[in-house]
Symmetry: C2
Subunit: 194 residues, 2 copies
């Protein structure tokens, strides 16, 4: 594993355990067996680490959503899998995603533009699953953009209240959300569970 | 109107127009015809203003929700009105609510405790509308706490994307959200529009 890879993984752990603001470059350097000074050979600072972690996280969320979208299953099943993947991603990285969702000011303007582009791309992919379900007649005629926002709101909000040692796992939460949303958008006479 | 009332109203406008961080006590003083020094006779600073505005906003949201809960209409209709009231509140005060939703660190620990108590009270009220609908058989058997969080996520997220000059008003957004959520939770054989 490259030093850079090790640094990113260590930073993700330190951010998760301490929070972005409390985390120090010193701790991250220590976790990968480097002096703080040497760490700056690989990375310009905490902000760049956060940006790279988030860019990587959203990149893998996009790849996952693209593969879900291409699956030979019903639009309803695609949506269910998309909701699960998103909820699990939020629950697994509440701190990193929480910070970027809350305060994009942490990022530089060009970093923010890049993340905004990625976010829009992700939103359009989600929306396209809804549009395909409407076209196929499985979902009701409705505003796909607005349902996308409803879905993102429901699932992103998870970072505010999810407790890893609570009574429900991320998958169980996603199952309940999917159930409600699919019942909510499924066309008359179609089964919400197909 | 008391001076304090004028100050709170002016602060709300300045926060909305400039954002909390960019707003200055100078501007707020100017808006009510006071010297900046005299303003401190009424209020300790920007943080107290934000706390008082938020405390007042959530207080009136609670009062509104309590009156909706007491209405002699079906649980579904109560939920529809609750979703509308919440969405309109978020859309009308995106900046103030946005800041408190995003960064409770702006508040002091005792202010945060007070807001958290109010927020929990509001959440329990919403949840009680769901519980009553389940008991009445209008809503399906489901986890009312989780549906409350889903509803809050959908509607709170509005502050991130709502555009007052966009194609949909807060009421229209609320109508679509209510429609999806009510279809999603209404028991088999019950009408989602009653």
């Amino acid at each position: 594993m490259s030093k850079e890879r090790q640094i990113l993984d260590a930073a993700r752990r330190v951010f998760r355990d301490k929070g972005y603001y409390a985390a120090s470059m010193q701790e991250i350097a220590h976790a990968v067996g480097l002096q703080k000074g040497s760490l700056y050979y690989y990375i310009s600072g905490k902000q760049e680490l956060l940006f790279r972690i988030f860019d990587e996280a959203i990149g893998s969320m996009i790849a996952q959503l693209e593969s879900i979208r291409a699956m030979a299953v019903s639009p309803g099943e695609r949506l269910r899998r998309a909701i699960t993947a998103h909820t699990v991603a939020i629950a697994d990285h509440p701190d990193t995603l929480g910070i970027v969702l809350r305060e994009t000011r942490v990022l530089s303007p060009s970093q923010r533009d890049r993340i905004d582009d990625q976010r829009r791309h992700y939103e359009r992919l989600l929306e396209s699953i809804l549009i395909e379900g409407i076209k196929a007649g499985q979902f009701r005629e409705m505003d796909p953009r607005l349902i996308t926002y409803a879905l993102l709101g429901m699932t992103n909000w998870v970072h505010r209240w999810y407790n890893p040692s609570g009574r429900l796992s991320a998958e169980e939460i996603a199952a309940i959300f999917s159930d409600v949303l699919l019942h909510g958008i499924t066309a008359e006479g179609e089964a919400a569970n197909s």
